[in-house]
């Protein structure tokens, strides 16, 4: 059976989001699926497994290495990415004791996403980590300093004249069902929050990047952030390195256009 080492592993199942109305929540798209590819790639599995390995600390359960890793997805949308990482954490991280959180500025996304993660987690009880909560919040602002080990962000990256106006957000963000005719304005507002990135498509991403040194665990912390070509990814990477002292590398990309990658995922971390 010499061929056994060439076993091709089956792709991990994509979580269901069929319970969500995509009238006002971002529907999983190419960018979401790029995260699933990236997180389940052998390079990232190896990286994450060695960073969060417990095997060398079997006997001493009190060492920091055996502590449960925490995951936070910022701007969780449908929840498909966090559900994937949580439900398959045994396959991806090699451990099932992770604790995952999500945030979104859109309360409809929060309600939908918590169910997406919960359903996926219950469907894979032998490989799943634990879901903490999904909270209605601005980016990572409500989490304590240094408490996140793995952060995921699929931002609103489309360049627009300005980031969406939030002056009426409170009204639009009320969790009530409305007839379609009355909900059009609200739903357009909520959807715009999932894609409109303002200048260079970077206004929201920059705010998140600026919070990374605070929110990430100082040694174990790692962030995965998606960029599109218009975000000027080379500049963004330089900025993250120079201003915050992190490593920043492209680990996955898709959609070659005239030699430029349309979408890419950065890994941001410290050695």
């Amino acid at each position: 059976m010499a061929g056994a080492s060439h076993q091709v592993s089956q792709p991990l199942p994509t979580p269901s989001t069929s319970h969500i109305s995509f009238d006002n929540v971002y529907e999983p798209a190419e960018d979401s699926y790029l995260f699933l590819d990236a997180l389940s790639s052998s390079t990232e599995k190896d990286f994450l497994r060695s960073r969060f390995s417990v095997s060398s600390h079997r006997e001493s359960t009190s060492t920091a290495a055996s502590n449960s890793p925490t995951v936070l997805e910022v701007g969780i949308g449908s929840g498909v990415v966090l559900a994937f990482l949580t439900a398959h954490s045994g396959e991806i991280l090699g451990r099932t004791d992770i604790l995952s959180f999500g945030t979104d500025i859109n309360t409809f996304a929060c309600h939908g996403a918590i169910k997406t993660v919960d359903v996926a987690s219950r469907a894979f009880p032998t490989t799943s980590g634990c879901l903490g909560d999904v909270v209605n919040a601005d980016l990572s602002s409500t989490f304590r300093d240094g408490c996140i080990d793995i952060l995921i962000f699929n931002p609103p990256y489309v360049p627009t004249e300005a980031a969406p106006d939030l002056s009426e957000h409170d009204v639009y963000n009320e969790y009530i069902k409305k007839p379609a005719m009355e909900s059009f304005e609200r739903d357009s507002h909520l959807l715009s929050l999932s894609y409109a990135g303002g200048l260079d498509g970077m206004e929201v991403t920059t705010r998140l990047v600026d919070d990374l040194p605070r929110i990430l665990h100082p040694t174990r912390g790692v962030a995965y952030i998606l960029l599109c070509a218009q975000n000027k990814p080379l500049q963004v990477k330089d900025q993250i390195k120079l201003q915050h002292g992190f490593n920043a590398e492209t680990i996955r990309s898709s959609g070659q256009q005239a030699g430029w990658e349309k979408l890419q995922i950065l890994r941001v971390w410290k050695d």
């Binding site: 920091a64 449960s68 004791d97 959180f101 309360t107 929060c110 918590i114 980590g129 209605n136 989490f143």
Partner: protein, 141 residues
């Protein structure tokens, strides 16, 4: 919202970040509900070192939950060692009742509605249908 989540949250206002009084947030008018979740004993063991025990005890007192041990449990209290024999697999260890109680407290006891109040600035964050809202009006960010 699960009790365990409160261990990781603080006031969303920038000016409260450095204040010890902003953690933990204080539940008020909380309606609790037990929501069953998959029991994962290894998770309980490995999350405990990350739990600020005094903060947990404090907020449980505020919620009227009385079954919290005075000190953070030791790893050896979480698994039954009486059946321990040579070469027993990590996964075969039998969790104690304490571990099941901690699972029930940290992951299954949820706040369905109420408020979370910052001990520093007094701002109140609402919890509705199990989801907490930490969005601030623009003048408070």
């Amino acid at each position: 919202m699960k009790i365990l989540t409160l261990n990781f949250l603080t006031c969303a206002r920038k000016t409260c970040k450095s204040s010890p009084a902003a953690f933990p947030l204080h539940p008020r008018d909380a309606e609790l509900e037990i929501v069953e979740t998959e029991f994962n004993a290894l998770f309980i063991q490995n999350i405990l070192p990350r739990v600020e025990w005094d903060a947990l005890k404090g907020l449980c007192t505020e919620l009227g939950l009385t079954n919290v041990p005075p000190e953070a449990p030791e790893p050896k209290e979480l698994f039954d060692t009486s059946i321990k024999s040579a070469g027993i697999d990590e996964k075969e260890k039998e969790p104690t009742q304490l571990t099941r109680d901690l699972h029930n407290l940290l992951l299954e006891t949820t706040i369905q509605s109420g408020k979370l109040v910052c001990g520093n600035c007094g701002h109140e964050y609402a919890i509705k249908e199990g989801i907490a809202n930490f969005l601030l009006p623009s003048h408070m960010v």
